[in-house]
């Protein structure tokens, strides 16, 4: 067993730890901005469960008041999601004016005003043929790239499903040619979903291979790390690997996400029993990039067992910050190996 002081005595590890720990102040919550979307995708999380039926609050004053209360409560990072935030830019602007650190999850078909200087995650689910089939939207990638050409806020989030794994190659190549960035997500089944988009051991292994190849071939375009690949393509889901710390799976209200995280619906109400980054996901199948960003990051202690494992954790956190915080520059990955996640009892 290494001492923590020995691990961070390695100069490149110490430098990376000091770089990422400056962001330990971030405390997130998420907000459904509207109950509408301009497309309808198969397997969309928003249109699962009862949150889709929440009455839409479009009142700017109400949102401003909510943000001020959130800020007072200690929230420093907002994630504006469901169903499609770009349909209510005035509400996004209101959030930005009060809490200027955050991210918007969008399908990229509408341009968000430049004044809203959040990171923007643009969802992509395969090539345009697949998007047409699953999302019922034509020329999706071309339209997204035109809308966010040269926009430093934008990063594409490619969701791997069993039917689009190899298409990640042409999408990444196209984004690289246009000087854009991409990160990876995994389709995670909503509760009760047993359709053809649910991953199997075979599709997880194939996804791992493609992710590894793309990370090696496009290191300036792909914002990911070998440890991200392991964590998100493991046969065990994130909860089984790392014990999810979102309120939905964590009864403690003493510290961390269990204490501060809330997931507001578009009527500005929230339910602790349903609160996580992507509600209505089947926790046993959860490999969401958003979930990992909090769940893996929170498990620093168990990763501080040796320099390699801690380096892998630092790569994960460095990736998380580069994906979620506008202006944060990712460093080169410190751990190039695909290492097995440590168990809680390993340290």
């Amino acid at each position: 067993m290494y001492k923590f002081s020995d691990i961070i005595a390695v100069p490149e590890i110490r430098d990376r730890f000091e770089k990422v720990r400056k962001y330990f102040f971030m405390r997130e919550s998420t907000y459904d901005m509207s109950n509408r979307c301009n497309i309808r995708c198969e397997g969309c999380y928003y249109f699962q469960g009862d949150k889709q039926f929440a009455e839409e609050n479009k009142n700017v004053s109400d949102w401003k008041q909510l943000m001020e209360v959130e800020k007072e409560r200690g929230i420093t990072f907002v994630v504006l999601a469901g169903a499609e935030p770009s349909l209510v830019p005035e509400l996004c602007q209101t959030c930005y004016d009060v809490i200027p650190l955050g991210c918007i999850a969008s399908n990229g078909l509408n341009v968000l005003p430049k004044e809203i200087d959040y990171r923007i995650h643009i969802s992509v689910w395969g090539n345009d043929q697949t998007s047409l089939e699953i999302r019922k939207a034509k020329n999706m990638l071309a339209r997204q790239m035109e809308n966010y050409d040269g926009d430093a806020r934008a990063i594409w989030v490619y969701t791997f499903t069993p039917v689009n794994i190899d298409q990640a190659r042409e999408v990444t190549k196209l984004l690289a040619a246009n000087n854009q960035q991409i990160t990876f997500n995994m389709f995670s089944s909503p509760v009760g979903y047993n359709g053809h988009l649910r991953h199997t051991a075979k599709t997880l292994a194939h996804t791992r291979k493609i992710m590894s190849e793309l990370l090696a071939e496009y290191p300036d375009t792909v914002i990911f790390s070998p440890y991200n690949i392991v964590a998100h393509t493991h046969e065990q889901g994130l909860h089984n690997l790392f014990s999810c710390s979102y309120p939905r799976m964590n009864p403690s209200t003493d510290i961390g996400l269990g204490r501060s995280f809330r997931q507001y619906r578009t009527d500005l109400k929230w339910d602790r029993d349903a609160a996580c980054c992507v509600p209505d996901t089947d926790c046993d199948d959860c490999r969401h990039y958003a979930a990992g960003s909090a769940v893996v990051t929170a498990r620093m202690y168990r990763h501080a067992s040796d320099p390699q494992t801690f380096s892998a954790w630092l790569d994960y956190v460095d990736t998380y910050l580069a994906v979620w915080v506008k202006g944060y520059e990712k460093g080169s990955n410190l751990c190039r190996e695909l290492i097995e996640p440590p168990k809680e009892t390993d340290h």
Binding site: F4, F24, D254, I255, A298
Partner: protein, 88 residues
């Protein structure tokens, strides 16, 4: 025993002051019953860092499930004493 606990309490306070870069307080003046979450504003990542420093210092393992219980310097000191007595 009481002296040991007092020494541990002072050392933990020193570690917290160093890690959180707290000003206007010394290990000797740090209120051992101050709630670290509610009154100092410590978060889970800060606590994990402090736990690692304590692991180095005392050679004990701190369970992830125990984090939420470690809300004051006095409680942490008692936790460490118990762990040391158990030989972990």
């Amino acid at each position: 025993m009481a002296t040991d606990i007092q020494q541990t309490t002072t050392r933990i306070a020193e570690i917290i002051i160093n890690e959180l870069k707290l000003e206007d307080v010394t290990p000797e003046t740090f209120d051992a019953d101050l709630d670290l979450v509610d009154e100092i504003g410590i978060d889970s990542m800060d606590l994990a860092t402090i736990a690692l420093v304590l692991r180095d210092e005392y050679g004990i393992r701190i369970d992830e499930d125990d984090y939420p219980k470690l809300t004051t310097v006095r409680i942490i000191a008692e936790y460490i004493s118990t762990k040391l007595a158990e030989g972990k």
